[in-house]
């Protein structure tokens, strides 16, 4: 699993990558009440705001970690946004994307580096 500075985790699955937010991010957000996901088939560029997470405190964005195409979204989050707090690294994945360049994944932090990053 790899981690971004925007507190997303990225996990390779075949030629796809699964994206979610870290435990640290979910704790900072507080109770999540609404998640807006991109559409399957969307072509996204690194840095695009493609998801919105609303918690009891505030709204925040998830940025596309890399260029690619959205190939699946987690429909469970629409009915049960609380999953983001309960199981951020598992059941609360946000979307799967096909990267324009799968090797780009290697540029992100590993778990140890991410732990250092969040202090």
């Amino acid at each position: 699993m790899k981690f971004t500075e925007d507190h997303e985790w990225l996990k390779a699955e075949g030629d796809l990558v699964i994206v979610g937010i870290t435990e640290h991010a979910s704790e900072q957000l507080g109770d999540v009440v609404f998640v807006e996901l991109p559409d399957v088939g969307d072509e996204v560029s690194k840095g695009d705001e493609i998801c919105v997470i609303e918690s009891v405190k505030a709204a925040s964005d998830i940025l596309a970690p890399l260029d690619g195409e959205i190939v699946a979204i987690n429909e469970d989050l629409a009915d049960n946004p609380g999953l983001v707090n309960e199981d951020p690294l598992g059941k609360a994945w946000f979307f799967k994307m096909k990267l324009a360049d799968q090797s780009a994944l290697e540029g992100f932090m590993d778990e140890a580096a991410y732990k250092d990053f969040i202090g």
């Binding site: 507080g30 009440v33 609404f34 609303e54 009891v56 405190k57």
Partner: protein, 367 residues
């Protein structure tokens, strides 16, 4: 951050694991380890303990205090019986709201509670018009709210169970004098309790020792009051909103209205009495956005899904844990009917919301 003030319960908040944030010049708990959502739901199911010691506690002494204070608020205070409390608001000459407050008649004086952020201005305002204004700085203020509040407090302070909504009284707990009102800011039954600062921690611990009670932070306090349709000063009401526009006309008794025995005689009376007669141009209303996306403060409201100018703006909005849906307050044209669909612009998209009556969740006061 070192200039932030602390309430007498600061150390207890830290010990309980609170996340502290600056609020109105104080270092206050925004949430405890339970988290905003569970704190909210716990308050509705059992009882929540809130530290509201940052609010201003003020005594207006003497038999003339009610008459003097009536010159600053559009509310009947001469008509407020001993042992009772009433909601009021300071108005300015333009008919806007300077602050909202609670006023209790305690026999030989009035006891007033004002918002933390407005405390200094309110004191100066009162001192300019009323003799002997005394700020109480040696007492903490706690709120115990929720269906279990009566049982919990009665066990410690016998007699409080007999109080009705908006009753006030003086009680003694282990030698400490408590000033108690049956009121709050959550839509729940409950109490607000002024306690000598030196006894505040002991008293809070005695309440928290009951398994029904959890400490509740400012985060849940906000979602609770919003579900209850209650205004937050500086957001839903301010100097640009009149009490009538704010849908607070219920707080203005007949005796202060046109034709009443003590008609007018408060700042901004011209505008406020006229709005009571003719109706205001805009009115604070409730919104229930469709779906789950909250419409927060600042979201602009439109009459149609495309085009046109905004007809209003959200002043408070968020997700209601008890109603399990987003909710918001907005100022809309006063002739907007309940059930109308309006549109809030969120991230460039206009999303529908229904105009609904408030509160979003019915209050459970013991009247």
């Amino acid at each position: 951050m070192s200039d932030l003030k602390r309430t007498p319960l600061y150390d207890l908040h830290v010990e309980l694991g609170a996340k502290m944030v600056p609020f109105a010049g104080y270092d206050m708990p925004v949430q405890y380890p339970l988290g905003v959502m569970k704190e909210h739901l716990h308050t509705r199911a059992r009882a929540g303990l809130f530290d509201v010691s940052h609010m201003g506690q003020v005594i207006l002494p003497g038999a003339d205090a009610a008459r003097a204070l009536e010159a600053l608020v559009p509310v009947s205070l001469l008509g407020l019986k001993e042992g009772r409390q009433r909601y009021a608001m300071f108005t300015n000459d333009a008919g806007g709201i300077l602050d909202d407050l609670m006023v209790a008649n305690r026999g030989d004086h009035l006891f007033v509670v004002v918002n933390a952020a407005c405390k200094e201005a309110d004191l100066a305002h009162m001192r300019a018009h009323i003799d002997g204004v005394e700020e109480i700085t040696d007492r903490a203020l706690l709120a115990l709210q929720g269906p279990a509040a009566e049982g919990v407090l009665e066990a410690l302070v016998p007699g409080v169970g007999a109080m009705r909504f908006m009753d006030v009284g003086v009680f003694v707990w282990n030698g400490a004098e408590l000033w108690i009102s049956r009121s709050g800011y959550t839509g729940e039954d409950g109490y607000e309790i002024s306690v000598p600062e030196g006894r505040a921690v002991d008293f809070a611990r005695a309440l928290l020792a009951d398994e029904a009670v959890e400490p509740i932070g400012l985060g849940a306090r906000d979602s609770l009051r919003l579900e209850a349709g209650l205004c937050l000063y500086g957001h839903d009401i301010d100097t640009a909103t009149s009490p009538v526009e704010a849908n607070l006309a219920w707080a203005i008794q007949k005796v202060r209205r046109a034709g009443g025995e003590r008609e007018g005689g408060f700042p901004g009376a011209d505008r406020i009495l006229k709005e009571l007669e003719d109706g205001p141009v805009r009115l604070r209303m409730g919104l229930r956005p469709e779906g789950r996306a909250p419409m927060r403060e600042g979201v602009e409201i439109f009459a149609s899904a495309e085009g046109g100018e905004p007809i209003g703006r959200v002043t408070s909005g968020g997700f209601g844990p008890s109603i399990e849906a987003p909710m918001a307050m907005a100022y809309l044209p006063a002739d907007t009917e309940e059930g109308t669909t309006v549109y809030g612009e969120l991230r460039g998209k206009r999303l529908p919301a229904q105009v609904v009556p408030m509160p979003f969740r019915p209050a459970t006061y013991k009247r």
